[in-house]
């Protein structure tokens, strides 16, 4: 992301000698933490110790867990976005803030590329009565007495309205080492300031790491900015911490290419600590209507399909094994 390089230069130029305080750290910890969608076996996407792998090519003796492979690729894409945000935050955090107030820290403004200037602000919102927050769809609501809102904003140098490029909110969880909050990357806002940009839409990310679990919701909408309500793509990741997990992703895309109509596809992947897993795929709308097509696939710890059944009228997904091969937790 070019924005990061520009930020680094700008921050270095405007860095203040006032050292970091512990209060500054509290503000910085309100920025998004390191978040990763971790699917087991993700490091063995080409081959495993027995010659097969998550995304290994099919052979007469081996049918790969295709949908788990798809889930892994989706997770990699999400992780790339999260890494970008984290690197951006880390770059800013390397310099002390330029403005300090009791409930506000500001870095910048500092010039970036194409005649723009940018600033990071973190504001603390305190309420004596508390606020009930729930940042992910499956989080337990929490009563918090302070929240932090942050924004990386930009505008034409010295004029115009500040546009939020990356912004969000977080709240202390009361539980050491855990965070909860949300953030959004607004590519449309970036494009209004710099028409040369090609990215469109927005990505929204909500997270909650309380209780030893990691819950991560990602919403992407390229066509218009309503990511929470009607996204073009959404990802729901939940890892309770015992090695098992669920990764559900939703996408509106031209899956069935008979016409240009967009289908809606859901892929839910579940896995157990021993790497056995199951994928449930549903495609509807668009060229599928009025039908609803589905595929069920289970795999063993070597990511070899041990059960597969479908109502898709093609030979792409032949029936394999019995559903009992999925194991009792995944049948």
């Amino acid at each position: 992301m070019k924005l990061r390089g520009a930020l680094l230069i700008g921050l270095a130029a405007t860095a203040c000698n006032e050292p970091y305080s512990n209060e500054d750290l509290l503000f910085l910890k309100a920025l998004p933490p390191e978040l990763q969608v971790e699917l087991p076996g993700a490091t063995a996407t080409t081959t495993s110790s027995i010659g097969t792998g998550v995304c290994a090519a099919p052979s007469p003796d081996f049918t790969p867990a295709k949908f788990y492979c798809d889930a892994n690729k989706a997770a990699s894409d999400i992780n790339a976005v999260l890494d970008t945000v984290l690197n951006l935050v880390g770059s800013i955090a390397a310099y002390p803030p330029t403005t300090r107030d009791t409930d506000l820290r500001i870095w910048g403004p500092f010039p970036i590329e194409n005649g723009l200037e940018a600033a990071l602000s973190i504001e603390r919102i305190r309420t004596s009565t508390g606020t009930l927050v729930r940042y992910t769809g499956s989080s337990e609501p929490a009563l918090v007495y302070e929240r932090f809102r942050f924004a990386i904003s930009a505008r034409k140098q010295g004029e115009g309205e500040w546009k939020g490029l990356v912004y969000g909110e977080s709240a202390p969880t009361g539980e050491a080492g855990t965070r909860m909050g949300w953030l959004a990357l607004d590519f449309d806002a970036q494009r209004t300031l710099d028409p040369t940009k090609t990215d469109r839409g927005a990505i929204g990310i909500a997270y909650d790491t309380r209780g030893g679990k990691t819950i991560l919701n990602v919403y992407a909408d390229v066509a218009r900015y309503t990511p929470m309500f009607d996204p073009e793509a959404a990802y729901f990741y939940e890892a309770p911490g015992d090695g098992s997990g669920t990764f559900l992703f939703y996408q509106r895309a031209n899956v069935i290419e008979t016409t240009e109509a967009l289908e809606t596809m859901w892929i839910q992947v579940r896995w157990r600590p021993d790497l056995r897993g199951r994928a449930d795929v549903v495609v509807r709308d668009g060229d599928a209507a009025p039908q609803e097509y589905w595929v069920v696939q289970c795999w063993d710890p070597n990511f070899a399909a041990v059960f597969q059944t479908t109502n898709v009228p093609t030979n792409d997904y032949p029936n394999i094994g019995q559903v009992s091969a999925c194991g009792p937790e995944l049948q």
């Binding site: 512990n22 750290l25 539980e175």
Partner: protein, 534 residues
């Protein structure tokens, strides 16, 4: 008619000298070590050598009749005393008076001589001397509280003995002399290279106590001389004035000739008109050999063994000094005119102890390695700002500046895997500190120990990093502050050359910490250092 008068020197000496040559035995005991809480003495054993030299040269003691015990314990002492007593009994001849002289230099406490970890009761010693077959028994103790040995026989502290001049019988009996009263300390002097008491005892025996001018020093003369000089010299010391004591139970002729200065073939002559206080320094043994208070009107001779000497005359503004060598028959005549003028600081005849002390006290360039533990007094400061830390460092001592040692320190320290708790956050961090300091330390020396204290100004740079925190791993939280403070250091110099030292130090500092809010933080440092002086 019996008439008690203060000692009239010389009246009885001639009589005694004309009698048969007496046989003299001596047991000389010295021990620098005491027991338990006593401080090691520097000169007790060398004082024994000094006394032995005088007795051998001028006192008529044959070499084989001088028994010297240095650093021995109580059983050795008892054995030596038994053996000597047996010899006295066996070798005594009719008509030849015998003398037993016992001299002790060392620690004493509560009526006991401390011979290292062992003890000899003064009552036992007194009783053994009393029972000795010798005609005259002389006990001289140069030790703290040594007046205890004179107590039971009506001992008293005073400037001179009283003799019964009407008694013409041969002298028999016992005289006990203590260097101090039973509740006083006996003191050593680095300037003199020995104890005050023994220094004046030997100076007197070598001739300076010859009040009568007959060149024979009697016990009465040397006691009176030693008493006055010891009292005068210790009057200004920290330990207080030291008063020698005596116990006298002598019948017969009274006084006893201790030394005959005419028997020493080599020596120093102070001619008739000369006047002043002179100090004769023995360059071979690095100690004061004698001290002379010369008054005009009579020549004074001090008998000294052959060797290299320096005579010093102390004047208000400077010293006058002359170096000379005595051959076996040389009698060096002191002449003020040939003595060179020397500044006090250039005095080249000060004694090993003084030179060592000067070496200790003189600010010298040096290097130090140090290990200090640092802790801030405020719990909040320790938890959230500057954690307890071990600092390693090096230091350079320069100086003197304003009479003090100017020291520069560089200290480094770090600690990993600390935890910063802020509200519900628990942030792992690593910590590093570097400290640069300048200080001025004024010192006081007590034997091999030197105390130093003074102000210290340090620059303190602290750096906190968060390599294990995903959000803050690129952040460096640092702080620099100037910290005024003070330092105290106790150094022990174990060697004679005073080059190496082991130090125990403590520091107090004040740091103004102005991030978030202005706070004054006190901290302390305690540690060890190893020093080497160039």
């Amino acid at each position: 008619m019996t008439k008690w008068v203060p000692v009239l020197f010389g009246l009885c000496v001639a009589t005694s000298a004309e009698a048969a040559q007496p046989r003299r035995f001596a047991l000389l005991v010295g021990n620098n070590q005491g027991s338990g809480d006593t401080v090691e003495l520097r000169y007790a054993e060398s004082d024994v050598q000094k006394v032995a030299g005088v007795l051998r040269d001028l006192g008529g003691f044959r070499g084989e009749d001088l028994v010297i015990l240095l650093g021995k314990k109580a059983p050795d002492f008892t054995t030596a005393l038994d053996q000597l007593e047996a010899r006295i009994a066996a070798e005594a001849e009719p008509g030849v008076p015998t003398t037993l002289l016992f001299y002790y230099s060392g620690h004493a406490k509560q009526g006991q001589l401390l011979l290292g970890p062992t003890r000899v009761s003064m009552a036992f010693l007194r009783e053994r001397l009393q029972r000795s077959a010798a005609d005259i028994k002389i006990g001289i103790l140069d030790a703290c509280e040594s007046g205890a040995i004179t107590r039971e026989k009506g001992g008293r502290r005073g400037p001179s003995f009283l003799f019964d001049l009407g008694d013409q019988e041969a002298a028999k009996g016992m005289i006990l002399i203590g260097s101090s009263s039973e509740d006083e300390a006996s003191q050593e002097s680095d300037e003199l290279g020995g104890s005050f008491f023994t220094h004046y005892l030997t100076s007197g025996l070598r001739g300076d106590a010859d009040e009568s001018g007959d060149r024979r020093i009697t016990l009465g003369e040397v006691y009176a001389y030693t008493y006055h000089r010891t009292v005068n010299s210790t009057a200004g010391t920290r330990s207080g004035t030291q008063h020698p004591t005596f116990s006298y139970d002598l019948k017969g002729q009274g006084d006893v000739v201790m030394t005959d200065v005419t028997t020493g073939r080599s020596g120093v002559r102070f001619l008739e008109p000369m006047e002043g206080d002179y100090l004769i320094y023995d360059m071979d043994h690095e100690q004061v050999a004698a001290e002379i208070q010369k008054r005009p009107g009579a020549e004074r001779r001090v008998a000294l063994p052959p060797g290299s000497y320096v005579i010093k005359k102390r004047l208000p503004e400077h010293l006058r000094m002359v170096r000379f060598t005595l051959g076996p028959t040389t009698n060096y005549a002191v002449d003020d005119q040939v003595m060179e003028q020397v500044d006090f600081e250039d005095d080249y005849a000060k004694g090993a102890g003084v030179m060592a002390r000067i070496a200790r006290e003189r600010p010298r360039p040096g290097l130090r390695g140090a290990l200090y533990y640092q802790g801030f007094f405020s719990g909040a400061a320790r938890d959230q700002l500057l954690p307890p830390l071990v600092l390693f460092g090096v230091g350079v001592d320069a100086g003197p500046v304003l009479g003090a040692t100017l020291g520069l320190d560089l200290l480094l320290g770090g600690t990993n895997d600390q935890s910063l708790r802020l509200q519900s956050l628990d942030i792992p961090y690593d910590f590093f500190q570097v400290q640069f300091a300048a200080k001025l330390l004024w010192g006081w020396t007590f034997g091999p120990v030197r105390l130093e204290a003074g102000p210290r100004l340090s620059g303190l740079y602290a750096l906190r990093t968060f390599p294990k925190d995903d959000q803050l791993q690129s952040l460096k939280q640092d702080f620099f502050g100037i910290s005024p403070g003070a330092e105290g250091l106790v150094s022990w110099f174990p060697g004679d050359d005073q080059d190496f030292s082991i130090g125990l130090g403590g520091r107090l500092g004040l740091l103004s910490f102005g991030v978030d809010e202005n706070r004054l933080l006190f901290f302390g440092e305690l540690g060890l250092s190893l020093g080497y002086r160039l």
